[in-house]
Symmetry: C2
Subunit: 359 residues, 2 copies
């Protein structure tokens, strides 16, 4: 329903309708000008040739130093989604199952299904502030489990796993298989979050320049894995995507130079938006957890049929994503706060009215 | 040996060695300035957001009109290699075998191996001017054959399949399975070549902006397939690479506007280089076919061990690719004419001396 909803929105906009888009995690901000200029400079300097499947060494070194790993462990990828695809493709080649806590980003499940991989869903709940029950986790693991995918902070809940919970998870897995942690929201998180790389184990991280730097459409992310897995990803790159354009890597390198200030600006902007949204929603009977990070809220309304609700709402010019796009969460829906503050309050009020009408 | 050779070259250059690089099909020309400016304009106009997995409609329409198909059949991909990967991934999911005429571009075989697909090689020979023997083809086909991959004009031979040969191939396959034709060199071919789309059948085309417009590092290509297969490629894009950056698609759109003049300029440049190369090589005992297209020559020297030869030559500062990178062609090696004319004659003379020494 995530991508279908977006296609519907694009279609309506094509017909000239104005839609308030709470449905997609694409920042409304422009990519900072310095980053655009860095790309242009690189283009003018002929950085338009084939390059290494692992990425440019200077960018890998900069990332390696941020994460305190060897550059050999870092691979630049056309988006963090490609890194997830690559890792799942490589680790599940000879069969096996994976565990995905829900609610979950649609792409994980789509990739697994496409690869013919068995998925075991691990339900988390608003009541437990979306933390993972390690007994539930333990019950899902067997000798064929190859991967646990964490999204931390989470899309769609925007809740981070507490350090204690992460510790429990890591010791439950106990190096039996890879934990893949998707931490694309961590740099602009409102709270301090722990990375999977802070723990021992053969774990993998994927991150992106998309959210922190408003660079979604540039398609650049990276993975940090064991050296062995990194080499396999590079080989897969060579036979598929080849390399991320070097001029895009130059832009990303500039983004890292400006990281502290850009991340701070983005964080504060989204914190304000989240405050506004929480204020509006707390006046309603919607239940929700106060977000730890951008961009989402994932409120619940008892007995809501969120698919019908989302379609009705779309007819009124407001797009949200039904909870069913993220697993078995019919009473929930996702709001992406990727709109300017004024539009957020107005849009949310229409959502609140919509809920009353839909019941 | 194709990618290994390139890694060796990169390593030597890193050590400060000057290498005459005949080993890689990456044009030495800069991407035309108008194309670079089109990308920059798009960047400044905020074309930095997520977009459609099928590509921008205006670019697809322009390509559809060139190939006289519906835009629904066209998908923009991060390089034509990704299109090959996607098509093989999608068509061979439930098993089957594929047929690859040799000598062949390394990537086809690497992709197939990675996907666990059975490859049946179909040998072609210099003696037959690298045309396909349809009886040999017929003998390889069985009920499990899902794909025949043509590279036309071919890498590494630069020879095009004659219209008569193509007709025979198409009628041998007789719509029993998909013919995937990689025609990335066709727009700058020295001779008029037929496209697979000129023939009936459920055939697929992949093409690229890389060679015609000196845009290798931009990573943009496309596929033209049945509408049904196109929809599957778009779904795969959504769960992996998402979309080619829109600003790169804008650059490609500008490239198409300038297509006639740029292709003409490139073609004439490579024709001159090919003439120079043929002149030098025809004074030796090397056997070769006069190229129909850029960039390559694939000469043969009886009893040559091309791997040993290529390694020796690299020590003397000249890189070529041994024939074994393209199949069972130990007596051959590939020369990529992606160097300025003066460097070509000088480099080729060192190659000719190298051959005498290596025997």
């Amino acid at each position: 329903m995530l991508y279908e909803m977006n296609e519907k929105v694009i279609k309506l906009e094509g017909e000239g309708r104005k839609i308030v888009k709470f449905n997609i995690g694409d920042p409304d901000q422009e990519t900072p000008r310095e980053i655009v200029e860095a790309a242009y400079n690189a283009l003018r300097n002929g950085k338009t040739k084939y390059s290494s499947g692992s990425g440019e060494m200077k960018l890998r070194q900069a990332l390696a130093s941020i994460h305190d790993v060897s550059p050999d462990c870092v691979v630049i990828t056309p988006g963090s989604k490609w890194a997830v695809f690559a890792i799942m493709y490589l680790l599940l080649k000879n069969g096996g199952n994976i565990i995905i806590p829900t609610p979950h980003w649609t792409a994980y499940e789509l990739i697994a299904k496409s690869l013919g991989v068995e998925v075991r869903f691990l339900r988390t709940r608003l009541d437990s502030n979306w933390q993972i029950d390690v007994e539930d986790l333990s019950n899902l693991i067997d000798g064929q489990t190859k991967l646990l995918i964490l999204c931390n902070p989470n899309n769609p809940t925007s809740i981070a796993l507490k350090e204690k919970n992460l510790k429990e998870i890591v010791s439950t897995v106990d190096e039996g298989f890879t934990i893949l942690s998707d931490e694309v929201y961590s740099d602009i998180s409102f709270v301090k979050t722990k990375s999977i790389l802070d723990f021992n184990g053969d774990n993998a991280l994927v991150k992106s320049f998309s959210k922190t730097f408003a660079m979604t459409g540039w398609r650049i992310g990276y993975s940090v894995t064991s050296k062995e897995l990194a080499e396999k990803i590079v080989k897969l790159n060579f036979m598929s995507v080849t390399n991320v354009p070097v001029f895009i890597q130059e832009a990303a390198f500039k983004a890292l130079e400006l990281r502290a200030q850009i991340a701070e600006r983005m964080r504060e902007e989204y914190r304000r938006r989240a405050d506004v949204a929480c204020r509006v929603l707390s006046k309603t009977r919607l239940q929700f957890a106060r977000p730890d990070a951008p961009f989402y809220l994932f409120p619940k309304y008892s007995n809501l049929d969120s698919e019908r609700f989302a379609l009705n709402l779309l007819n009124q010019g407001v797009a949200v994503t039904p909870g069913t796009a993220f697993g078995d969460y019919r009473e929930h829906f996702r709001i992406a706060l990727t709109l300017p503050e004024q539009e957020i309050s107005r849009g949310l009020e229409r959502i609140c009215r919509g809920i009353e009408e839909s019941l």
